[in-house]
């Protein structure tokens, strides 16, 4: 049953590859996404203790949380892409649709992996799949962005493999057996060889951190998110970064069990604050609103790392923020994609008055900005506040102060660009207005908005339970 979460998207990918109709293919993606979300929620909600085919495929609390989240993000993007691909009918979508479904299968595999090597294979597969998504526009700029993404991603993935090998070696020395099953590694705990474990954590942090886009390994992000279609941006910022974060958390759990928790948390705090600082610097005066969103993604990956680094109750907050961030990124990237289409530019010199030309997308872009910068009553307000109070409760004054300063600077920097886009009169160029806000291109964003509002006002009990279970797994 659990394996079907991987197999069904793979079969659907094959079907999408074979189907000759350019119009039918996107619907296959959307329907598979809907089926995947329904199945995931059913499995998680019923808490099925499924008999497994293999010990290395199992849903732990972290996997349940990640799977539900990625599945929802994928569904949102899949429904949107039906409308998007209809608009881009001049471009063949066979590869795009096939790769989307392979991506879904591989993210499911990653969430289910209880074995480091298997998890690594899933991460590498998502890297290669997303490279093809980035190249959708097939021009010189998108090729350059894809190249940079692959270079950083490939080095990251190579270092992650080396880290995996080091972890196996630490088990070989400690236990006499190079196991890479998470349960065995956690149980072995302090028996693992400490020098190897430390080095392994550093390598895996660099490797999976590059996939998350933590500074200073974020350099691929602005180019990739700037050149990719908005829907790919939403999928990367909401889906792939979540996968990398879950991978990193699983490694963190092993490091913590092996007595290297303080060392790991110190590194996470450093990278987290560095990411927020980098994002703040590059968001001030940013004139390209898609690159702006890329830096916002760097910022929030930083917040996630910081939350885990502070530890204790902040771990729960960081997991909550993972959910909130992924959902708001859906609103932001999809509305930015619509605005980009309608104005044929993503620079604020050319784009003004988005709220007049695109009343719904323009408003959603503004609301998304308010939500992601932590304005109430949206979800991120709660999670960002919880991280702050956790830092204060732990008497980490410097961290709390820097965190607040960065958030304030980013609010101002991001705000000035976003307001320039949505306010004022649209330019009088006449021909940019062919774009219409069809239901398929707007509804997915409202679905995200509803969820983000819900997470801010009232978090349903099953979700809280899931978050607490995942946080307990990480030692909170």
């Amino acid at each position: 049953m659990i394996v079907s979460l991987i197999l069904v998207p793979l079969v659907a990918a094959l079907v999408a590859f074979i189907v000759p109709s350019e119009r039918v293919r996107p619907w296959i993606v959307a329907l598979t996404g809907a089926a995947h979300t329904a199945a995931t929620i059913a499995i998680v909600a019923m808490g099925l203790r499924l008999t497994n085919v293999a010990p290395w495929l199992e849903l732990d609390a972290l996997g349940r949380l990640g799977l539900v989240l990625v599945s929802i993000v994928f569904l949102v993007c899949a429904v949107y892409s039906v409308g998007y691909l209809h608009l881009r009918a001049e471009r063949p979508n066979r590869v795009f649709c096939t790769v989307l479904l392979v991506f879904l299968a591989m993210t499911s595999l990653l969430m289910l992996s209880q074995h480091l090597t298997l998890m690594w294979v899933a991460m590498e597969a998502t890297t290669l799949a997303t490279a093809l998504l980035l190249y959708f526009n097939q021009n010189q700029r998108s090729l350059e962005a894809t190249w940079k993404y692959l270079m950083v991603g490939a080095v990251g993935i190579a270092l992650a493999l080396l880290g995996t090998l080091f972890l196996a070696y630490s088990a070989l020395i400690g236990l006499g057996d190079p196991t890479l099953m998470f349960s065995q590694l956690v149980k072995a705990g302090p028996d693992l060889s400490a020098p190897w474990l430390r080095t392994a954590f550093v390598l895996l942090l660099v490797g999976y951190g590059a996939k998350m886009g933590l500074a200073p390994l974020h350099t691929w992000k602005p180019d990739a998110y700037g050149e990719a279609p908005g829907v790919v941006g939403a999928l990367l910022a909401g889906g792939m970064t979540t996968c990398a974060f879950v991978a990193l958390l699983r490694v963190y759990r092993v490091a913590d069990a092996g007595g290297q928790g303080d060392f790991a948390r110190g590194l996470l705090v450093t990278l987290g604050l560095l990411s927020m600082a980098t994002a703040a610097i590059f968001m001030i005066g940013q004139r390209d609103f898609k690159r702006l969103l890329a830096y916002s993604s760097v910022e929030h990956m930083g917040i996630l790392a910081l939350g885990i680094g502070i530890g204790g109750p902040a771990i729960f907050a960081a997991l909550l923020h993972t959910v909130n961030n992924a959902l708001v990124k859906g609103i932001l990237f999809l509305s930015a994609g619509n605005i980009h289409r309608a104005f044929k530019s993503k620079r604020i010199e050319d784009v003004t008055g988005a709220m007049r030309r695109l009343p719904l997308s323009g408003s959603l872009f503004l609301v998304g900005f308010l939500a992601i910068t932590g304005a109430p009553p949206f979800g991120p307000f709660v999670s960002e506040l919880l991280i702050l109070t956790a830092a204060i409760d732990a008497h980490r004054w410097v961290i709390a102060a820097l965190y607040l300063i960065f958030l304030a600077v980013i609010f101002i920097g991001m705000g000035s660009t976003v307001l320039a886009v949505v306010q004022g009169e649209p330019p009088n160029d006449g021909d940019g207005t062919k774009f219409r806000e069809s239901p398929l291109r707007v509804m997915p964003m409202f679905a995200c908005l509803a969820l983000v509002l819900m997470m801010g006002v009232w978090i349903p009990e099953p979700v809280t339970d899931l978050l607490y279970a995942a946080a307990r797994l990480l030692g909170a």
Partner: protein, 211 residues
């Protein structure tokens, strides 16, 4: 580990210097192929019994790292007419010096790490780390995409050498998946070339005329 394995690893370390010191892409790729063959020989000294898995690993490594990828790279060189590395970000002498420092550092660092009894007094760990560092050096200091791919291959070779220490788990085979990335890189280089050559036939421009 028998001394022959260590001799192979020393040759591997020397080839790292050669790749860093040459401006000719052809020569660099030939040495990359040599590295692939050296790596294919190494498992023979790790596993003493002749098993199907051993034969498969040796054949696969020689086939992919020694033959397929180098010939793919040679083809790319012919297609894009680039034969020399021009003005690397860091000169040849400084990069050779850095490689020497890196190799010495790898030897010292590996000395600090606790090793399993079988692995003490062998060069596997320092050779792996030094090759990895040399690859990283090529990757970051060279301008041409093909040189960068060569650097990535060296980085990968370093990981492969380390993977042999964990021969009993399936990790050696997993490393081959990284070669997939290399294939995509080379495709990217050729695509980039095609795009520059036919920039007036940019499909983006074709669609903007139609809308």
């Amino acid at each position: 580990m028998p001394p022959i394995a260590d001799s192979i690893l020393i040759i591997l370390l020397l080839t790292n210097f050669f790749i860093l010191g040459t401006a000719s892409l052809r020569a660099a790729i030939r040495v990359i192929a040599l590295q692939g063959i050296l790596l294919a020989l190494l498992p023979l000294f790790v596993e003493t019994h002749l098993t199907f898995r051993l034969v498969a690993i040796v054949a696969m490594t020689a086939g992919i790292k020694g033959l397929a990828i180098p010939s793919f790279l040679f083809k790319a060189i012919r297609d894009v007419h680039i034969h020399h590395e021009i003005e690397p970000y860091l000169g040849y002498i400084p990069s050779l010096f850095l490689c020497a420092v890196g190799t010495a550092g790898a030897l010292l660092f590996a000395d600090q790490l606790p090793l399993a009894i079988d692995h003490r007094s062998s060069l596997f760990v320092p050779a792996a780390l030094a090759t990895l560092l040399a690859g990283f050096l090529v990757l970051t200091t060279r301008r041409k995409a093909i040189s960068q791919v060569a650097g990535y291959l060296m980085l990968e070779n370093g990981i492969y050498v380390f993977g042999l220490l964990l021969y009993q788990s399936m990790l050696v085979e997993v490393g081959v998946l990284l070669d997939l990335v290399v294939g995509i890189f080379v495709m990217g280089i050729v695509l980039n070339h095609i795009q520059r050559e036919f920039s007036s036939l940019d499909t983006e421009k074709l669609s903007s005329l139609r809308e």
